[in-house]
């Protein structure tokens, strides 16, 4: 996912344009004559819409949360804090994490609907009542 620094590779100057580099420009910028653009052509509107990507999306948020979670676990491993790693990935009892996360929970519980069992906020109530499981189907 990360772009390596090696991609800064044009010490000799700019790159010639590829279609991907200019697609948004030739579809979205430049001079237009109102009537003629839309009368004669089919498919242009679709191309224009496809060229735009929504930045802030649910998918982005979920991906960010996952990526940061991974990084944090890596960092904790490097810092010699295996407890957190173990508790998250082992399917172990919740009590293993509660100490380490107590402070965090305090900080955020006013803002977010916590998923801790001792929280009885609205989001929890909407979900089926069942034992909290820590499944591992995501391949650890």
């Amino acid at each position: 996912m990360a772009i390596s620094s090696q991609s800064n590779r044009y010490a000799a100057g700019p790159s010639p344009s590829g279609l991907a580099d200019v697609l948004d420009l030739i579809l979205d910028k430049g001079l237009v004559i109102d009537l003629y653009v839309r009368v004669s052509l089919i498919g242009i509107e679709i191309l224009t819409i496809d060229a735009r990507i929504v930045v802030a999306s649910v998918d982005t948020y979920l991906r960010f949360a996952e990526a940061v979670g991974r990084l944090q676990i890596e960092d904790d491993e490097k810092q010699g804090l295996p407890e957190l790693m173990e508790s998250v990935t082992s399917g172990g009892a919740k009590s293993k994490t509660s100490g380490a996360l107590e402070g965090v929970k305090e900080q955020i519980k006013d803002v977010v609907s916590s998923d801790d069992d001792d929280s009885s906020d609205q989001e929890r109530e909407k979900e089926p009542s069942r034992p909290r499981r820590r499944r591992r189907e995501n391949g650890e």
């Binding site: 580099d21 910028k29 430049g30 109102d34 948020y61 960010f64």
Partner: protein, 270 residues
């Protein structure tokens, strides 16, 4: 591959007059820009139609052709890149087709003569360069972690738990992270633009197309005076290596500086 527009300007007799014309851009009638031979819709000849001080670069659109394929987009870009390598051009957006040469003269070149000359003056001797910077995502997320360790710990806690249980928390965390990335993007954009501004004539900053984009700046610069910009981008890319990857592309026709919609019918004052 290229040939001079030559004397065909103003006397475009090569085309079947019944065919509509695909329009690439506007040049000075006095210019004789080199033009590639292949055009949109499989056209074999690209030429200029002159009217007064202006000329439109066009090609006949073969019968039944409906521009929109990849080759058509490439042909549009190729024609304009070829022109802008040596001449001043106001590019059309992809997809402008007019009925015939007389329509091009009357409804484009004559009716909008003043506007078009003004646009040409604004980009005379200049080309557009695209300067984009992309985040190395891990680097910027590590900055977020460093700023907000509590977000990171929370994200690690819920990471491998089923979405059904944690979706709300993950969304909240992700939104917090995205907001922090956006704050960094605002600061990064300003910092990069401050460095580019002294070496360009004009700049258009486009909104990021996705969350990895730190900057999408389209800049206008003299065709024969681009070295300071080249150097500035090179320096930035060295300074930011590992955090930002730059994509520096051009020279392009000045699409972002001819972003205007002309009225097709009315404008009696033009």
């Amino acid at each position: 591959m290229t040939r001079p527009a030559g004397s065909s300007a103003g006397t475009s007799t090569a085309d079947d007059p019944a065919l509509p014309l695909y329009v690439y851009g506007i040049v000075d009638a006095g210019e004789r820009p080199a033009l590639p031979s292949g055009g949109v819709g499989g056209a074999t000849q690209v030429h200029a139609i002159a009217e007064g001080p202006l000329a439109a670069v066009v090609s006949a659109l073969p019968e039944g052709a409906t521009p929109g394929r990849r080759e058509d987009l490439e042909a549009h870009e190729r024609v304009l890149s070829t022109i802008v390598a040596h001449a001043t051009v106001v590019p059309m957006r992809f997809g402008v087709v007019m009925n015939d040469a007389e329509t091009v003269r009357e409804r484009l070149l004559r009716r909008h003569s003043a506007t078009l000359q003004e646009l040409l003056e604004g980009v005379r001797g200049r080309v557009q360069m695209s300067v984009k910077a992309f985040y190395a995502e891990e680097a910027v997320l590590r900055e977020v972690i460093a700023t907000h360790p509590e977000i990171a710990r929370r994200a690690a806690e819920v990471r491998d738990r089923p979405d059904a249980d944690t979706r709300g928390v993950k969304l909240w965390l992700g939104e917090m992270i995205a907001a922090e990335v956006a704050r960094r993007r605002d600061a990064d954009q300003q910092r990069l633009l401050d460095r580019l501004a002294p070496v360009v004539d004009d700049v258009r900053v486009e909104p990021p197309a996705n969350e990895r984009v730190a900057l999408n700046a389209q800049v206008l610069v003299r065709r024969d005076g681009r070295e300071p910009l080249d150097a500035a981008v090179r320096t930035l890319s060295e300074e930011e290596a590992g955090r930002l990857a730059f994509r520096y592309v051009g020279p392009l026709a000045p699409y972002s500086f001819a972003d205007l919609s002309l009225a097709a019918e009315e404008s009696p004052w033009a």
